[in-house]
């Protein structure tokens, strides 16, 4: 095949077609909007307020990241048995895992968090008996509990999808080489599955960071909670704008990091 056979893309039309006018108008609108926000933040700048509330934002960001990190790790641990049960040939086991996943994916995270945070009060005597009441009295712990159960369901589906995307021949090839099931999983299947799973995992982390904003409603002072608190004290709208900027920066960093890692680990697949 010769290179010359490939046509060059047609040159863009010159002048001012309708699309270009529309495009420039929209970009100008965005520029005006973003400049407006920047101008607003500069005009509304209040050094006193900033000095008073900026440390809160930093600690709130820390709480958000801590909450997400713990939930993601606990969820990852919990997702392994769920994914295993979901793929098992035992009808009861896979049915139970399916019901778990269906419940946590089919109901809002906010409802689950409320169910756990407000609902544990109904089981206070039983919890006091086993000594877990102190744990569930803290809103932060309840949030971690709810988020871990929630993300475990999503991660189990990601894991299952990734493992099942590896062709059966890989299992058979490993078996014919005399590899043990666990060895096959660890050395053959997982490395291939994780490449598939990387992007969904990245999306799940981003969804958790965004979803974690709801803990502000159950009085955890994460980034969103601090923002609400600042707004209710100062009635200064810039508190929300700052939070939006911080969330956007985190999400963009994560998204680009995932893309970078994906490029790195699939180098052997590009020719």
């Amino acid at each position: 095949m010769s290179v010359a056979a490939i046509d060059r893309p047609p040159a863009l039309p010159r002048g001012w077609p309708r699309q270009r006018i529309l495009g420039y108008a929209l970009v100008c609108l965005w520029i005006a909007f973003l400049a407006g926000i920047a101008a607003y933040l500069i005009l509304a700048w209040n050094g006193e307020l900033f000095a008073k509330y900026a440390p809160g934002y930093v600690s709130g960001l820390g709480i958000t990241l801590l909450l997400v990190a713990i939930s993601i790790v606990l969820g990852a641990i919990l997702s392994v048995p769920i994914a295993y049960a979901r793929m098992s040939k035992n009808r009861v086991l896979s049915g139970l895992a399916y019901a778990y996943v269906y419940f946590f994916r089919g109901t809002p995270l906010l409802a689950q968090t409320f169910l756990i945070y407000y609902g544990v009060g109904s089981f206070r005597p039983q919890l006091e008996m086993v000594g877990l009441w102190g744990f569930f009295r803290e809103a932060f712990n309840c949030a971690i509990f709810a988020f871990s159960l929630n993300t475990a369901a999503y991660q189990a589906e990601i894991l299952r999808g990734a493992i099942q995307s590896v062709p059966r021949g890989q299992w058979e090839g490993a078996a014919s080489l005399g590899l043990h099931k666990l060895q096959t999983m660890w050395k053959v299947i997982l490395p291939q599955a994780l490449i598939v799973a990387l992007r969904p995992y990245g999306n799940e982390i981003i969804l958790m960071i965004k979803g974690s904003a709801i803990v502000a409603i159950i009085t955890v002072y994460d980034l969103m909670g601090i923002t609400k608190l600042t707004y209710s004290r100062t009635f200064d709208f810039q508190s929300y704008v700052w939070a939006a900027i911080i969330y956007l920066i985190i999400v963009e960093i994560l998204r680009h990091a995932v893309e970078w890692i994906e490029r790195r680990i699939t180098i052997h697949l590009h020719r």
Partner: protein
């Protein structure tokens, strides 16, 4: 101590009628958001697949911003931001004006914006799945650009985009729970009121979660029916 069945009955004693009203609000909010989100999402996808770089840039900024913000924050920004903005404008005419922004409309705008930014990605990948020959074929039989879009591209686009859009509908249904935070009496809000009054928090939030689950199950039946209807068209081609 009232029994569980009294609490969940219809009428002044029970809370079922209040929760049913919450279901009505949730479903109508989601149903009102869907067309708005679909239309905006489609337009943004059109911009993102255009040949014109400036249009693509404008579309990408939209998606980046509204996919990156937490839904709850978007909701608060639109709810309080609109309130403050409209109030500022009103003050120019009437210094004593007090504005109350409708929570339903704010919720609709916020959820619609978030939905459309995800929907635009679904539409975009569907656009990319349609071969260029379809446009060229439309052109060669003398269809105008708009006719090609309406008669040739859209029917295929909908078929390809349907699974992704169905997924987004289920996410939208769950996201409506957030509007309880700005005071709209949806399922979760009503369950919360019931829980506070009766002290049966686990019961009422459990019921609320099950109602969301039921809505998701009903939706997936509806989605299956639509998918069957659409794929039947494909067979007749």
């Amino acid at each position: 101590m009232q029994s569980v069945w009294t609490l969940l009955s219809w009428g002044p004693e029970g809370w079922l009628d209040d929760i049913a009203y919450g279901v009505f609000i949730t479903v109508s909010l989601a149903a009102a958001t869907l067309p708005v989100g679909l239309v905006i999402g489609f337009l943004v996808a059109l911009a993102k697949q255009s040949d014109e770089p400036s249009l693509r840039l404008a579309g990408n900024i939209y998606t980046t911003i509204f996919r990156g913000l937490p839904e709850l924050l978007t909701l608060f920004i639109i709810f309080y931001g609109a309130q403050i903005g409209i109030q500022q404008v009103m003050r120019l005419y009437d210094p004593t004006a007090a504005v109350e922004v409708n929570a339903f409309v704010s919720g609709m705008i916020a959820l619609g914006v978030v939905f459309s930014s995800y929907a635009s990605e679904v539409f975009l990948s569907a656009f990319r799945a349609i071969p260029k020959g379809q446009y060229e074929g439309g052109y060669s039989v003398g269809l105008s650009g708009w006719q090609t879009m309406r008669l040739v591209v859209l029917p295929q686009l909908i078929r390809i985009a349907l699974p992704g859009l169905a997924n987004l509908w289920l996410i939208l249904l769950k996201d409506t729970a957030l509007v309880s935070a700005i005071g709209l009496t949806d399922i979760l809000r009503q369950a919360g009121v019931a829980a506070r009054v009766t002290k049966h928090a686990f019961l009422f939030f459990g019921v609320a979660a099950l109602i969301y689950l039921l809505l998701a199950i009903i939706s997936s039946f509806g989605i299956n029916a639509i998918e069957r209807a659409v794929s039947r068209q494909q067979v007749q081609r």
